[in-house]
């Protein structure tokens, strides 16, 4: 766990010189399994159910990639990481792609040598407090103890926010969402802060979710998206276009239920291109032309993934908000497959 980052750093030293620039797509195909780096457990996003099966929003995107590359969304090995270990794990080759509520930032892109592929959830950092405190705004948090996951953008935003507003606080650093939950519920901290989506997801696991509120202030931009190691453009392309296909499928109304029908009878050329009836888009990224069709069959389009895992009808109950399609007032806007 915590020592893992140390071990991973050590492993990175010892790792033979094959990991960085190799053709990940070929490796994945040869292995017959996709290694996907996810969280240690965040309900709705990436978590294991009672039977040990991984579920969630990020997990479904991993399965989508596996469906495109390997033809089977179940051929995924999930590599759980904390906020601190995720990048080392990716760079040391423990996983092929990172889907872990990860905020796209310049330093991660340029300095940590990752390649970001887009955004699958537009988020922002929020604060959760117990209703008993009677706090209604983040401006009233002077002197509070705040649970904060280390190794995240949120820990830096937190320092900036309290400094800018001239308030004091006690940071209580923790490693995983689970630890945050226990410390927060035990009253070690008054406030839990992380991405607002993560707050909603954590709250859903409380015994008394109604007694906790998420304060109205959102103090940062957290565009969450997948990343791969820098330097393997072909593999980056595969992942980027799987993400775009999932988003575009919703825009054009392709769902897991109607995908076969639409492939047989494409209503318009855009759909024909996505589903591989027209053009050779799959071949361009080293796959076959039915790649996107398999993805949608396996996990559905963006809206389906959202509704199934974190949407209004789930316990987490997130609204689409910014994550609605651009036509519906959101900012979800995929580059066209053409």
């Amino acid at each position: 766990m915590k020592l893992k980052s140390i071990l991973v750093a050590g492993a990175a030293m010892a790792m033979s010189a094959t990991i960085a620039n190799a053709a990940t797509l070929d490796d994945v195909k040869a292995r017959g399994e996709l290694n996907c780096i996810v969280t240690t457990g965040l309900v709705g996003f990436a978590y294991t159910d009672e039977s040990g099966k991984w579920n969630g929003f990020d997990v479904d995107f991993c399965r989508g990639v596996a469906a495109a590359v390997l033809g089977d969304g179940m051929k995924v090995k999930f590599v759980p990481t904390t906020g601190k270990t995720r990048f080392t794990a990716l760079n040391a080759g423990e996983g092929d792609v990172l889907y872990r509520n990860t905020t796209v930032t310049m330093s991660r892109d340029a300095d940590l040598k990752l390649t970001f592929l887009g955004v699958n959830y537009y988020d922002g950092q929020g604060f959760m407090v117990s209703k008993d405190l009677g706090v209604t705004s983040a401006k009233e948090l002077d002197g509070a103890s705040v649970c904060i996951q280390t190794g995240t953008t949120t820990e830096l935003n937190l320092a900036d926010y309290f400094r800018a507003t001239g308030m004091s606080y006690e940071p209580v650093p923790i490693e995983t969402n689970e630890e945050a939950r226990t410390n927060y519920l035990a009253g070690r901290c008054d406030v839990y802060t992380t991405d607002a989506s993560g707050l909603a997801a954590s709250r859903a696991t409380f015994d008394d979710p109604k007694n906790h509120i998420i304060l109205p202030e959102i103090i940062s931009k957290e565009p969450l998206g997948p990343a791969v190691r820098q330097g393997d453009d072909d593999w980056a392309d595969v992942n980027r276009w799987v993400l775009n296909a999932i988003i575009e499928a919703e825009e054009f109304g392709i769902t897991s239920a109607n995908v076969d029908e639409m492939a047989a009878n494409p209503p318009n050329p855009s759909i024909a291109r996505i589903l591989g009836v027209e053009g050779n888009y799959g071949e361009m990224i080293g796959l076959d032309n039915e790649w996107a069709k398999r993805v949608i069959k396996a996990v559905g389009n963006y809206g389906e993934i959202f509704d199934r895992n974190i949407g209004p009808n789930t316990e987490i109950g997130l609204e689409r908000g910014l994550n609605a399609q651009w036509k519906d007032g959101g900012i979800l806007y995929s580059a066209p497959i053409r």
Partner: protein, 397 residues
């Protein structure tokens, strides 16, 4: 064994070297060193190649950039605008804090238990035995998590904090106690205190001389206590108690004012001390048992009473057996303190090796620095203990 036979052999070029015992040993040693260095070189080269491939260079300039994160326990001035280097120093000081408190507590508890373990009282003896076996056979990480869980889950919330005379408060945010601010006159007390220590030292010398000359034993302990503690207290009272106390008070979410011992520091120190004390107890027991019983009998025969026997005859000899393993216990405790990260105590592993490493992505640099820091701390402890060991050895006649 058959050195004669070997040198008698006709020398057949290189092979003859192998038949020569000394030469063979040298060859084996050279070979071993070569293998070790080749392995190190291989690892270093791989690391360099891999870093190069992902386009990362080795450099320490990042240490001067602002850290951008806050730390909840700082013994020196620090804010999120301070440098990563300063964050590392804050971490080192926090490591010192647990290490020093832990070593002190572990030593006291360990010595007491070690002596009790030899007690003739069967119940006492067995209780200590159970303590030692239970404590040292459970991994220290579990003790740390357990202690932290205990503090955080069983102590009350600050709003219901327990208190002693409304000046000391206990809650799951830690222990809040008054902190002193010193007025000018206080330094008079400090001066008297120092003078008291000097006086006590001289009195001890004088007492030894008297004892050597006349055999009379003077009450060194009581006089020393009077000089070192009594005198300053009297001065303190007469100068009108020149200390201003800042008393903690609940304000908003937390206690403000005074000093706070965070639950993480508490849990970590207790867990490390508890764990290490079990080992020290065993060292102490072994040390005392290693002193031949004849020594006790001889001391008794000379007319020394029991506690004097222990103090003058047994302990000094036992110390020579106890100190070397004690050193390694101190080293263990210090290194184990890096498990702090499991409960979010901000030691140097958590600042430099945790947040800084993670936010800057400088794994290699941070790990190298961290290793160098722990190595220096360990070497410092070892050399101090070696010095101490030599000092107590000198008494040998």
């Amino acid at each position: 064994m058959s050195a004669v036979a070997e040198s008698d052999r006709p020398s057949a070029g290189l092979l003859s070297l192998w038949y020569n015992r000394e030469a063979r040993q040298v060859i084996i040693q050279i070979f071993t060193i070569a293998v070790v260095f080749a392995a190190l070189f291989y690892l270093a080269r791989n690391a360099a190649i891999n870093l190069e491939r992902i386009g990362k260079d080795l450099g320490f300039a990042f240490l001067l950039e602002p850290s951008s994160y806050d730390i909840n326990q700082t013994f020196i001035e620090y804010s999120s605008r301070s440098s990563h280097l300063r964050a590392a120093v804050v971490g080192v000081l926090n490591t010192f804090a647990v290490a020093i408190c832990g070593v002190f507590l572990a030593t006291v508890v360990g010595f007491v238990l070690g002596v009790l373990r030899l007690s003739k009282n069967l119940l006492m003896n067995k209780m200590v035995y159970c303590y030692v076996e239970v404590v040292r056979n459970v991994p220290v990480l579990l003790w740390i998590l357990l202690m932290h869980g205990f503090v955080v889950h069983t102590l009350p919330h600050p709003k219901q904090a327990g208190d002693i005379a409304e000046t000391f408060f206990f809650s799951n945010r830690g222990i809040n106690m008054p902190s002193p601010t010193f007025e000018p006159l206080f330094w008079a007390c400090a001066l008297v205190f120092v003078a008291g220590i000097v006086g006590a030292v001289f009195y001890k010398r004088h007492a030894k001389k008297v004892q050597d000359e006349t055999g009379k034993i003077l009450p060194v302990l009581w006089v020393s206590l009077g000089l070192v503690i009594g005198a300053p207290v009297v001065v303190f009272l007469f100068t009108g108690m020149p200390i201003e106390w800042s008393i903690p008070a609940l304000k908003g979410f937390n206690f403000q004012g005074g000093v706070t011992v965070k639950p993480e520091l508490m849990a970590l120190t207790l867990a490390l001390a508890l764990y290490t004390s079990a080992f020290i107890a065993e060292n102490v027991r072994a040390g005392i048992l290693a002193v031949n019983y004849g020594q006790t009998e001889a001391a008794h025969a000379l007319g020394l009473r029991n506690n004097r026997t222990l103090q003058l005859v047994i302990i000094p000899q036992a110390m020579r057996v106890i100190v070397p393993p004690l050193t390694s216990q101190y080293l263990n405790l210090t290194k184990n303190s890096s498990l702090a990260i499991a409960i979010g105590y901000m030691d140097v592993t958590a600042t430099l090796g945790g947040i800084t490493l993670n936010q800057t992505g400088r794994e290699m640099e941070c790990m190298l620095l961290l290793m160098a820091i722990y190595l220096s701390i360990s070497l410092a402890i070892s050399s101090f203990m070696n010095w101490y060991n030599k000092r107590i050895k000198l008494i040998e006649r």
